[in-house]
């Protein structure tokens, strides 16, 4: 229990510091913190469907993009306050995630991963076909210094995502998700309603990027298909969550903060080659710590107290003989 209290205290202090950032009045520092909070939040969103439920998705950017466009259209066409539009985007994406998840989550492994990537790509391409989006020209939002507002919004969404994940991490729903990840058929036999469970996880993983995307549009004051349905944002998010530790409560936090700082430091030091260096780093870390930073560190710490668990029997081998 003391460990938990310590964790909460450290986290509270961190957020107190994060809340104080805009008072420094330094735009550069604000943008650094905004980016970290944004990516960490996205990594948390991704972690629910891909980390806990084990459905690796390369297309959660779809919801981020839809969120951004809803805010852009809402504020320019209907002159609605942006945060209201962002909330609408969250609700809309939650509703959209039901049929989409029901359809797409029948696919497994690489087929789901690439299917989601394809969905994001087709949405990017088809922006021209949707009215009010301005096609490839994009939409200009009312200009202004929106940094501080969006920063607090993003922090709030991040806290929401962490609280949500903390709840899932210890409740029965989270257990069902993990059962699904380990063996979907077995989970089904044990009475887990697999379809409902994974669609619910998918909905949660859609709401968070939608809320963040809404803020992002207001922050950038300009939306355009390729910068909104951005492959780079998607790839970075996935890399951060994986390197931190998929399916863990603190993995996205560690991965998100650490990797977004590294990524930003690289992009200022090596403007030409930073993506390449980041990519090489991702591969190297994947090979060195295949399960991510958090599970590896936790194992190291606990290894001193607990004896290692016995190796599970190789089930796959026995099936083959027949």
């Amino acid at each position: 229990m003391t460990q938990r209290t310590l964790g909460i205290t450290i986290l509270a202090l961190l957020f107190l510091g994060a809340v104080a950032i805009p008072f420094t009045g330094n735009g550069y520092i604000l943008s650094l913190f905004y980016t970290s909070a944004l990516f960490t939040g996205l990594a948390y969103g991704w972690n629910i469907i891909s980390g806990y439920a084990g459905y690796l998705s390369f297309g959660q950017i779809t919801f981020f993009g839809i969120g951004a466009y809803i805010v852009a259209i809402g504020t320019t066409r209907f002159h609605a306050p942006w945060y209201l539009c962002a909330l609408v985007a969250g609700v809309f994406c939650a509703a959209l995630a039901v049929p989409m998840g029901w359809l797409m989550l029948r696919l497994k492994g690489p087929f789901f991963a690439l299917g989601m990537l394809g969905l994001a790509q087709s949405l990017r391409i088809s922006t021209d076909l949707i009215p009010w989006t301005g096609g490839a020209d994009g939409i200009y939002l009312p200009p202004g210094s929106n940094g501080v507002q969006v920063y607090y919004w993003t922090l709030a969404v991040l806290i929401l995502a962490i609280v949500l994940t903390a709840t899932i991490d210890r409740n029965a729903f989270g257990l069902r998700l993990r059962a699904l990840r380990e063996d979907e058929r077995a989970a089904g036999t044990l009475g887990v309603d697999t379809t409902t469970t994974k669609v619910k996880a998918f909905i949660l993983s859609a709401i968070i990027p939608a809320l963040l995307g809404g803020g992002y549009a207001w922050y950038l004051t300009y939306v355009e298909p390729s910068s909104i349905y951005s492959t780079e944002i998607e790839l970075q998010t996935v890399a951060m969550a994986i390197l931190g530790g998929m399916g863990t409560l603190w993995g996205p936090f560690v991965g998100g903060i650490l990797m977004s700082q590294i990524s930003q430091a690289l992009s200022t030091k090596f403007p030409q080659t930073h993506l390449m260096i980041f990519g090489a780093l991702v591969v190297a870390l994947l090979l060195a710590l295949p399960r991510g930073i958090v599970p590896t560190v936790v194992d190291k710490l606990q290894g001193k107290r607990k004896p290692p668990e016995p190796e599970p029997a190789p089930l796959a081998q026995t099936e083959v003989v027949t």
């Binding site: 690796l56 087709s122 890399a239 993506l275």
Partner: protein
């Protein structure tokens, strides 16, 4: 004339399908033997195409002259890739699947960065053989035709290699049944490496041919991974004839929808086909039902 238009669209679609087939064959060979979906496949194709465009612009070396070297270099890259990064995967099949997806995903990220650093994000193409033949009111672009013919030629060589040589038969055996193949004394590790050697070699060839008929920048790589993967899914996993058929069908779909709908709908076809096939006929056209 209406008929001429249809013939034109069919020809355009089939010519496009030829290069698509090459992109998909490489992916299919790798997937067949190793069950690894190489997410970096499209990036490798585009990287080759970008190199071709630079060589053409700077030194006036045509993609056809680059092709043999590119295939050899691609085979080298494929071998190294498998030997260094994808050799030791976990035993458990689902974990192995996830790990290999993540590693090839990391490689594709690295390759996007590499291509952007060297070639910037500008769209490029090779202005080689830009004229076309006109036969009975139907235009055949020379570059498209050449790319198509070479793609078919390479696919035929590959077919002979896979069907009639001992190594090719071993590779197909490993693809059909790993344990059976191992029991017959086939070195599975060697076959895994070989599948990458061949697969990436073919990807490099596809990149050279593609450079003549497409405009591309480093970001288009993931599109080609998806196109190649949707063809593999459409034709049937592990079925090489299926890949060629799937590529032709997809080429036709892009060509017709692009004309009668619009170009945006046309370029969406790979994803639409991919999702529809997976949902309604997951084993593909020529594939066998998966247990």
């Amino acid at each position: 004339m209406h008929l001429e238009l249809v013939v034109q669209l069919v020809i355009n679609g089939l010519l496009l399908g030829g290069v698509f087939a090459l992109a998909a064959l490489g992916l299919n060979i790798i997937f067949g033997v190793t069950r690894i979906v190489n997410l970096a496949h499209g990036q490798l194709i585009i990287l080759t195409a970008l190199i071709c465009s630079t060589l053409f612009q700077r030194f006036n070396i045509t993609p056809l002259e680059v092709l043999p070297l590119a295939v050899i270099a691609g085979m080298g890259v494929g071998t190294v890739l498998e030997r260094t990064l994808l050799r030791r995967l976990p035993e458990h099949q689902q974990t192995a699947e996830t790990t290999s997806l993540l590693i090839t995903f990391g490689v594709s990220y690295f390759l996007i960065g590499l291509s952007l650093a060297i070639f910037t994000g500008d769209f490029r193409s090779v202005g080689y053989l830009t004229s076309s033949w006109t036969i009975g009111g139907v235009d055949i672009a020379k570059a498209q035709f050449l790319a198509f013919a070479l793609a078919l030629f390479l696919a035929a060589i590959l077919a002979v290699l896979l069907r009639s040589t001992p190594v090719g038969r071993a590779l197909r055996a490993a693809s059909q049944n790993v344990d059976g193949a191992r029991a017959c004394g086939i070195d599975i590790d060697q076959m895994r490496t070989l599948s990458f050697t061949l697969g990436i070699g073919i990807a490099a060839a596809a990149g050279c041919l593609l450079s003549m008929i497409y405009a591309y920048n480093p970001d288009t790589g993931s599109q080609f991974t998806l196109i190649a993967f949707s063809i593999v899914v459409l034709g049937g996993r592990g079925s090489y004839a299926g890949s060629v058929l799937g590529a032709a069908l997809l080429g036709l779909a892009v060509s017709f929808v692009g004309f009668y709908g619009n170009t945006h709908l046309g370029s969406m076809m790979p994803y639409v086909v991919f999702i529809l096939v997976l949902l309604f006929r997951p084993q593909g056209i020529l594939g066998k039902a998966v247990a």
